[in-house]
């Protein structure tokens, strides 16, 4: 674990090699993911996009180490993963803050586990509280926060542990449309500072085009990789620029084919 040094920036490389996953239902094995091979580059933000039930969250859970793959493997900077690890931070759709800890205590949860000295913990917490704009809410408990604020804390908590990779599972899925766009802008701003390797699961095409360096479209169940779109747009993106809309409609066409299949 060379990535434990807290506060460092920069990402790691993720290699997904021939990953299969099947779940057993009523004694029968049903495939969820078939032959997924993918390489996420250092500092890249990769979006996994697909209709509900396409296995994109399953793939993320495998990379996080929460689920073992039925076949294949996942490598981080060349070494295969065996379970969850602090070099891979996770942001969940349901926020999953520790409700018994204050905002600040949630953020310093990771560093404290690592035995980072208290003074340094305070520095880290202050830095990330500021980054997500919650400095004034440091002593509040999660029940006192709105959904958007909770997700900011969750992002700060993941980043404060200085992971080289951040895995985000539809992190803005539970937020209202306006908050969602604000959060996308914040994430993109943070990423320009932190340069993490990010795998971001979403079913929003707009969100994917706004955030991603590459968008991976998956097929509906069982999940395969259907198509990969490199997004060649400037770092600061304009949702109304013609190039943006062009990517959006191109990806929409491909996704629609998959959604249609589900309803056949």
């Amino acid at each position: 674990m060379s990535t434990v040094g807290v506060g460092g920036a920069g990402g790691a490389r993720v290699q997904i090699e021939g990953v299969h996953k099947s779940f057993t239902l009523d004694g029968r094995s049903a495939p969820a993911l078939i032959d997924i091979s993918l390489e996420v580059q250092t500092g890249e933000l990769l979006c996994l996009l697909g209709p509900s039930g396409c296995g994109k969250s399953t793939l993320l859970n495998i990379v996080a180490g929460f689920l073992p793959p039925t076949g294949g493997r996942v490598l981080v900077d060349g070494s295969p993963i065996t379970g969850p690890g602090p070099e891979r931070g996770v942001v969940f759709q349901e926020y999953v803050l520790f409700p018994w800890l204050t905002v600040a205590q949630n953020i310093e949860f990771g560093p404290r586990l690592m035995g980072v000295p208290a003074a340094r913990c305070r520095e880290i917490t202050a830095r990330y509280l500021e980054m997500v704009g919650l400095s004034e809410h440091a002593t509040k408990f999660p029940v006192q926060l709105s959904g958007g604020m909770k997700q900011r804390v969750a992002i700060a908590r993941a980043l404060a542990n200085s992971p080289s990779i951040v895995l985000m599972d539809e992190p803005f899925g539970a937020l209202d449309a306006q908050t969602r766009e604000v959060m996308q802008e914040e994430l993109s701003r943070i990423q320009r500072v932190e340069h993490k390797t990010i795998v971001f699961v979403t079913h929003s095409i707009r969100e994917a085009v706004y955030l991603a360096d590459r968008v991976v479209v998956m097929t509906s169940s069982p999940g395969r990789i259907k198509e990969v779109f490199p997004i060649k747009l400037p770092e600061t993106r304009n949702r109304f620029a013609p190039e943006f809309t062009h990517y959006e409609s191109e990806i929409t066409r491909v996704v629609k084919e998959e959604v249609a299949k589900v309803h056949e």
Binding site: G85, V96, M114, V143
Partner: protein, 274 residues
């Protein structure tokens, strides 16, 4: 009375009342009860309904309690009861946590313990009291063991359930922040299970006072249960009522103590300005 407008605005909790008025209602209700009680016991004497010894008025009861407190007897009995409750309940709680936490955590432990617990749980604890007396004698040990036995079940079951219902996502979140097995237990499982564990502890405290009285009815020379039973033998109704009221106050105090712990440890559930 609440109107429909009140109901839809406040729900069934009702609109908050001014502090003074709420307090006045509460104190008034207690005074009214004492008044009715006095009236009833007075009428019995005046109308010569039945032997007034059966329904002693509140002042007679209070007088008896004060008298017992003044000559020191009351404190002896209160001390004896409290000590039994304290030792019996504490060992019950320790046992329930020591077995319940691992049982909630590990399926194998649960599978081993549950059938045994389920075998004994439907037996009313009181049915076991004579057995305890036969096994460990009529002295302190049987009384304490009895409280331990009776309080173990609710506290064990709530602890097991509390641990089992901990959201697995919390474990995922913590483990991807670098938590190892023991850290997961102490920093996630325990705090997440604490609210329900404390509910079980509250049940345990209430049950302790419930069962101690019965075990003090049988072969005790001290304790509030003894005081009640002794009163029965000699038709001392004020003593019986007085001891019962003191028991009620002790139970109330025990509950208040747990509520205090809950306020302190579970502040995150209802922070002041939420």
């Amino acid at each position: 009375m609440s109107t429909v407008t009140d109901l839809v605005q406040w729900g069934l909790r009702g609109a908050s009342q001014p502090r003074r008025r709420a307090l006045a209602l509460r104190v008034g209700a207690v005074l009214a009860f004492l008044g009715l009680w006095s009236l009833a016991s007075g009428l019995v004497v005046l109308l010569d309904l039945f032997n007034p010894i059966f329904l002693a008025g509140p002042w007679l009861v209070l007088g008896k309690v004060v008298q017992l407190a003044a000559n020191g007897q009351l404190w002896e009995h209160v001390g004896a009861t409290l000590l039994r409750v304290l030792v019996g309940f504490t060992s019950g709680a320790v046992l329930a946590l020591a077995l319940g936490l691992p049982a909630g955590h590990f399926r194998a432990v649960r599978n081993a313990l549950e059938p045994i617990v389920e075998l004994f749980r439907p037996i009313p604890p009181l049915a076991m009291l004579p057995l305890f007396i036969v096994w460990v004698g009529i002295g302190e040990t049987s009384k304490i063991t009895f409280i331990t036995y009776a309080t173990f079940f609710p506290m064990f079951l709530t602890t097991v359930h509390a641990v089992q219902q901990v959201d697995p996502l919390l474990l995922r979140a913590a483990s991807s922040l670098g938590a190892r097995r023991t850290q997961l237990f102490f920093r996630v499982v325990l705090p997440a299970a604490l609210p329900e564990i404390l509910t079980g502890i509250r049940l345990g405290v209430a049950l302790s006072f419930f069962v101690i009285v019965i075990s003090e009815f049988i072969g005790a020379e001290q304790g509030l249960g003894y005081l009640i039973n002794d009163g029965r033998n000699f038709f001392l109704v004020p003593q019986m009522l007085g001891a019962a009221i003191v028991l009620g106050l002790l139970g109330y105090g025990g509950n208040a103590l747990v509520v205090l712990l809950e306020r302190r440890w579970l502040r995150w559930e209802h922070p002041p300005s939420a």
